[in-house]
Symmetry: D3
Amino acid sequence: MDMIEQIITLALSEDSGLGDITSESILEHPRQGSGVIVAKQDCILAGTDAARRTFQMVDPDVTLRFLFQEGDAVSKGDELLRVEGDLLSLLKSERVALNFLQRLSGIATLTHQYVAVLKGHSVKLIDTRKTTPGLRLLEKQAVRAGGGFNHRFSLYDGILIKDNHIAVAGSILAAVQAVKNRMSHLMKIEVEISTMDQVDEALAAGVDVIMLDNMSIQEMAAAVKRICGRALVEASGNVSLTQLRTSLKQGWI
Amino acid sequence: MDMIEQIITLALSEDSGLGDITSESILEHPRQGSGVIVAKQDCILAGTDAARRTFQMVDPDVTLRFLFQEGDAVSKGDELLRVEGDLLSLLKSERVALNFLQRLSGIATLTHQYVAVLKGHSVKLIDTRKTTPGLRLLEKQAVRAGGGFNHRFSLYDGILIKDNHIAVAGSILAAVQAVKNRMSHLMKIEVEISTMDQVDEALAAGVDVIMLDNMSIQEMAAAVKRICGRALVEASGNVSLTQLRTSLKQGWI
Amino acid sequence: MDMIEQIITLALSEDSGLGDITSESILEHPRQGSGVIVAKQDCILAGTDAARRTFQMVDPDVTLRFLFQEGDAVSKGDELLRVEGDLLSLLKSERVALNFLQRLSGIATLTHQYVAVLKGHSVKLIDTRKTTPGLRLLEKQAVRAGGGFNHRFSLYDGILIKDNHIAVAGSILAAVQAVKNRMSHLMKIEVEISTMDQVDEALAAGVDVIMLDNMSIQEMAAAVKRICGRALVEASGNVSLTQLRTSLKQGWI
Amino acid sequence: MDMIEQIITLALSEDSGLGDITSESILEHPRQGSGVIVAKQDCILAGTDAARRTFQMVDPDVTLRFLFQEGDAVSKGDELLRVEGDLLSLLKSERVALNFLQRLSGIATLTHQYVAVLKGHSVKLIDTRKTTPGLRLLEKQAVRAGGGFNHRFSLYDGILIKDNHIAVAGSILAAVQAVKNRMSHLMKIEVEISTMDQVDEALAAGVDVIMLDNMSIQEMAAAVKRICGRALVEASGNVSLTQLRTSLKQGWI
Amino acid sequence: MDMIEQIITLALSEDSGLGDITSESILEHPRQGSGVIVAKQDCILAGTDAARRTFQMVDPDVTLRFLFQEGDAVSKGDELLRVEGDLLSLLKSERVALNFLQRLSGIATLTHQYVAVLKGHSVKLIDTRKTTPGLRLLEKQAVRAGGGFNHRFSLYDGILIKDNHIAVAGSILAAVQAVKNRMSHLMKIEVEISTMDQVDEALAAGVDVIMLDNMSIQEMAAAVKRICGRALVEASGNVSLTQLRTSLKQGWI
Amino acid sequence: MDMIEQIITLALSEDSGLGDITSESILEHPRQGSGVIVAKQDCILAGTDAARRTFQMVDPDVTLRFLFQEGDAVSKGDELLRVEGDLLSLLKSERVALNFLQRLSGIATLTHQYVAVLKGHSVKLIDTRKTTPGLRLLEKQAVRAGGGFNHRFSLYDGILIKDNHIAVAGSILAAVQAVKNRMSHLMKIEVEISTMDQVDEALAAGVDVIMLDNMSIQEMAAAVKRICGRALVEASGNVSLTQLRTSLKQGWI
C-alpha cells in the first residue's frame, strides 16, 4: 500500500469506517446509479489520481470517466468526472473524492496564479515541506499540476543545511564537510543563509544552492549579485502575489 | 493506534521515513538540545495534542512544556511550546509538529472570527464533512477550539437525508420511514431541503432537523417562519463573514 | 481497509498466515474444486457478508452463490452457499467463513426468539456494547438480521450518561448541561438511572431517553408511569426469554 | 504488534476510535480516578492478559492490580482487578477490557466443567479451530486456563488430513505419503476418519493420531479397541456434558 | 494481507513509496511495454511466487508468463519470465521482483548442491531459524525448491528444548515434563544436546528427536550408535559441502 | 512506525507471533535472566540499532549494554552485547536480534575488505538497489559501517537514466531534458552508458554523473580519459576483490 493509498484508506475510514447509516437504511437492496462532478468555479484541476483511487478502493467495479486531465484549466460548469456503479459505493466515495479534488485543485489554482506572474522570467516557483500532514505527495503533485516545481519531498531526498545545523557543526564549512563525508554523490548541497557574510562562507565551502531566508528585496538583489552564478539561488519567506508583481515591475527579479 | 496516531505516523513517514540525511551527517553522536515554538501572528491556538504526540512518537524521552492551552488566544511573539531532548529527535519532529499547529490554529482562528460575529445571537456555527482527508478529527477539534460546534463526524454518527436519498426513496416521507425502521433511537433525523414545499413535507414526516441548502436570505427567513420551532434549522452554503455581518445588521438572523 | 476487512484479515492471518501444511502437501499443483455450506440446524442466517468477503480476500477468483439472504429463516439441511474455485483457496477460507456464519447466525437466531416473543407489543429489542472484541459491527448486523435494533455502535455515536458520569459532574443536571455544551445537535441525550428520584431529575434536565438499569419489574412499571411519554424508556439488565414471557403475560409490558 | 495487540487495537478502535463524546464533555480537564472489577458470578478467571494490555494500550500510566490470577476459581462478589489513573482513560478502557474478561472467563468456566467430569479418567479435553475470528489465541489461552488442552492453533502448526484431503489424494495412504514428503519431521500426522475400514487404512499408513468423527459411542468403543494403542485417538462431534457423564457411567470411556 | 504480501509491501515502499522520479519524468503519458527476465547463470529457480505478486501488487493489469516453474533447474541465458503492461508499473516492479528472484534462487541453488551430495543416503537436509528477518517463509520455500526440508517455521510450530531451557527447568527430564503438560499432542519433542550423558538423559525422558549440536564427526557417530533408532537424530553446526563429502567418503553417514 | 520498526515487527511476527511454546511451557512464572552475545569470528560489527530495537520492542524493560559500537572491528570471542531482563522476553528476542547482527555484520565485513583494498586511491565504494527486500535501510547502514558509501536509497531520491529510459525517450539528450523539466534542482543527473558514443552524448547533454556499465577495464580507462573530469564516473558490474587488486596493481585505477 503506497502513501497515497494510506491517506485514502484513512480518509475513508474516518468517514465511513462503520458504515453510512442514512444510505444503508434507504438502499436496502443494491442499486446501480451514476453521478457527475461539476466545477463550481474556474480552476486548475488536480487530485484526479486520488479521486480515481478513492472510488476504486471503495468498489473496484465502479467505472470512472474523467473529461479533463490533471493540470487542465477548467471552467465553472464543466463536467469533470462521470462515475457509474453501485449507488451505495458512489455515496460512500463521493465526499472523500470531492475533498481531495477541492483541496488539491485549490493548490494547483493558486500555484498557477504565481506561475503566471513569473512567466517570461528566469525564475521557478518551488514548494516547501510546509504541507498538510499526510498529504505531502498529493500536494506536491498539485503544485506541479499548477506549473510549479518541487523542492525536496522529505528529509532524506535532499540536503538543506539550516541555522540549527550550522550552530551544531560550528560553521557553514564544518557543516558542509560533515555532509560531504556522508552524503550520496548524487545530491547537491544547499545552505540557508540570512546575511551577506554567510553568502561568502557558503561560496567558500563550495555549496551548490544558497537559500536567502527572509531577506529584504534589496538584500536579496545584493546577494544575487555577489553569488554571480556560482551557486543556484533560492528566495524564501514573505512571498505574496502582490510583492511578486511589485518586484517584477521594479526589475528586481 | 487511534486515528490521530495514524495521521501522525503517516506524516512522519512521508517526512523522515528513511531518515534525515542532513541532520544525521552533522549529528553523528547523540546530543541534547532544546527549542521554542513562537507565534508569528495573533491566533487561536489549536493542534496542541497532535503536536505533543508528534514529538512523543518520535522520541518518548523528549519533554514538552506548553505555555498556552488549546483554544487560548495567543499574540504574535508569544512562546507557545518549549521542547527539550535529543537534538536529532527534535529536528525530526519539528516540521511535522509545526505543520499540525499552523494548519489547525488557522482553522481555530477563522472559526473564532465567525463565532465573534455571531456572539449574542441564538445561532451556532457548525462545521461539515468537507475536511482535509485524514485530518477530520483534528480539524473538528480545531473548530471547537475556535468556539464552533461540530456537525456529525462521519456517515455513521448522524443521519442526514440529502437530495440523492430522497430521489432513491421516492419522497421525503419514504426516506424518513426507511431510516426510522433501521436507525438507532438515539439519533435525530435531519433532512436537507431547498424549496418551501419540501419544508412542509419534512415537517409532516416528523424530522428533527431541517437544513436549508443554498437558499437566499429571504427564502431562509420565510422557511424559518414556516418551521416555527417545530424542527431545528440549519443554513448551509454561501456563508461568508461579510454576508453574515450584513444579515445580522438587517435583522435577518 | 474497513473494520470488517480488518477482522477478516486477522482471522485469516491467525488461521493460515504461514500456510496450510496439510493441503499444500496434497495439492502440489493447482486444482479446481467446489463446495456447499449446509445448515446443520434451523436458524436465522447471518454473516453472509463476512463469509463472502473471507472467500474473496483469500482469492478474488472464487465464485460464490448464496441461496439464501441475510436474515432469512433457513432449515436444517438447506444449502446456504455454493463456492467454486481453486481448491487450496477454498480449503483456506472454509473454516474462517464458517466461524463467521456460525457465530453470527447464532446471534441472529437468538435475537429472533426474543423478537418473536415481543411481537405485537410496542417494545423494541435493542443491543449493547457488550460485544465480542473486534466483531461489533458484524454482531450488530446479526442483531438486525434477527429483527432487533441497534443501540449506539461506540462511544462516539451516541450519548449515554452513566453513574460514573453523574458522580463526576455532581448531578444529572450538571452532566446533561456539560454534554449539551459540547455535543452535536443531531444526537439525543440518554441517562442511565436506578431510582425514582433520578427519574425526576432526568426529566427536569430535559433528557430524551431514560434507561432503567437493573430495576425490578414493579419499579420499572412505576417509572414508566411517572415518565409518561416525556422521554423514551429503555430497560436494561436481567432480561431473559422466560422473564420476558412472564412479564408480557402479566401485562407488565 | 503481536496478534493480541492487533485484536485489542481493533476493539478499541471500534469502541472509541473517534473519542467518547459523553465522557469528554463531562471531563473537560484531566482527573484521576480508580475502579474495581467485581465478579458477578462464580467462574474461572481468564482474559487477564488481554484486559491488562487493553488498559495499558489506552494509557501506559494506568496502574493495575490483579487480585486473582489467570485460571483461578473466583466467587461472586470477589474483587478481581483494581485500576487507577486518568479517569478518561479508565472509562475508555473499561468496556473493552470487560468484554475480554467476560467472554474468556465464560470459556474457561465451561471448559472447567468438562474437565471436572473427566477427572480421574485418562482422557484429555482438547479444543478446535472453531473459534471466534480474531480471538483464537485468547480463546485457546482460556481453554488452558480452564484445564483443557489445545489442538493445533492453525493450519500451519499441525497436520490433520480430512475427508477433502483424502478425496483429492485418492486414499488415506496417498495423502499420508504426500504429507510425509513435505512436512517437518517434528510433526505428527493425524487423520480424521468415520468408518472402521478407514481405521485400518490409517493404521496401515502409519499415522500418529486418529480422529473418530461423529461416530456413535458404540462405534467409537470398537474403533478404540481395534486401534489398541497403535495411534492416539481423538473423538470429535456431539460431545455434551450430559453425554460425557452417561458415557463415563457406562464405562465407555 | 499475509506475511508474503507484507514483505512485498515493505520492499515496494522502501523502493518507490514516494514514486520513481526518473521514470515518471520520462513517461509523462501512460505507455505499454514488455520485458523479459533472463538467467545470468545456471541455477535452481525460486521466488517465482514473490516475483509474481510483486508485479501484481504494483499493477493488477500486468500480465506475467513464467517459462519455468519454482524448483526447475535453469541455464544461463534461459528466459524465465515475460511481463507485459504499463511501462511505469514494470519499471517500478522490476528491481524488487529481481531482488526476490536472485536471493531466493541463490538459496535454492546452494541447497540443491548439498542435496545432490546427500543423494542416495538416508539423510535429509533441513533448514534453521537463522533466516533473513521478514523473509523466513520465502526462504523456507526456497529451501524446498532446492530439495531440502524445513525444520520448524517459528517458535510456535515445533518444540525444541535447548541448553537455556534445560538450565531453567533443572534437567532434561524436568523440561520434557513441563512441555508435555502444556503442548499439543500433535507435536514431537526435540532436545538439543552436546554430550553423551545428555543422550542417555534424553532417551530416558522419552523425546522424539535429538539434535547433536556442534559435536565432532566421531562423537556424532558414537551418539547415533547409542540412540540406535530410539529417536530421530539431527546434526547441527559446522556442516560444509567439503565436510559432508569427506564424511560420506569415510562412511560416517 | 518507521521502516526499521516495520521489518522488526515482521521478523518478530514470523518468529513468535503466536508465542514460543517451548519456553512458555518451561517458564510458567516470570523469571529474570541475562545473556551475552559473543562474536564467533573477526568482523566489523553492524546491526546494533536493529538488535537493540528488537529487544526493546519485545519488552521495553530489558536493559542492553553494547560493549562495541556500530562499525567497530571486533575479534572472535569478544563480548558484543549484554542483555538483562525477563527471561521469556530474552528468549523471544534472541534469534531475531542475532539474525540482524549476523547478516548486517557480514555485509559490513565484506564492504570493509573492499574498502581496505581501495585505501589510498581516489575511488569510493558505493552500493546499489540490489538489496534484500525490506532490509534496504539496514543494509545501507551496514555498508557505511564497513566504510562504504551509499548510492541512492530508492527510486525517489536520485536520478539514474538507464537504457530503458533512453529507449523510451528516444535519446540520452531527450531523457535528460525530460528529467530536467520535472526534477528538483537539488539533484544531480546520472546516466548509465555502455559505449564510447554514449559517453559523448551524455557529456553533451550536461549530465553530472556517468555510470560505465559492464565495460572491460580497458574500455573504462578510455572512457575516464574521455570524460576527463567533466562528470563524476561510476563503474558497475563484474567488480570482485580479485579483479580490484589486479586493476590497482596494473595502475588502471
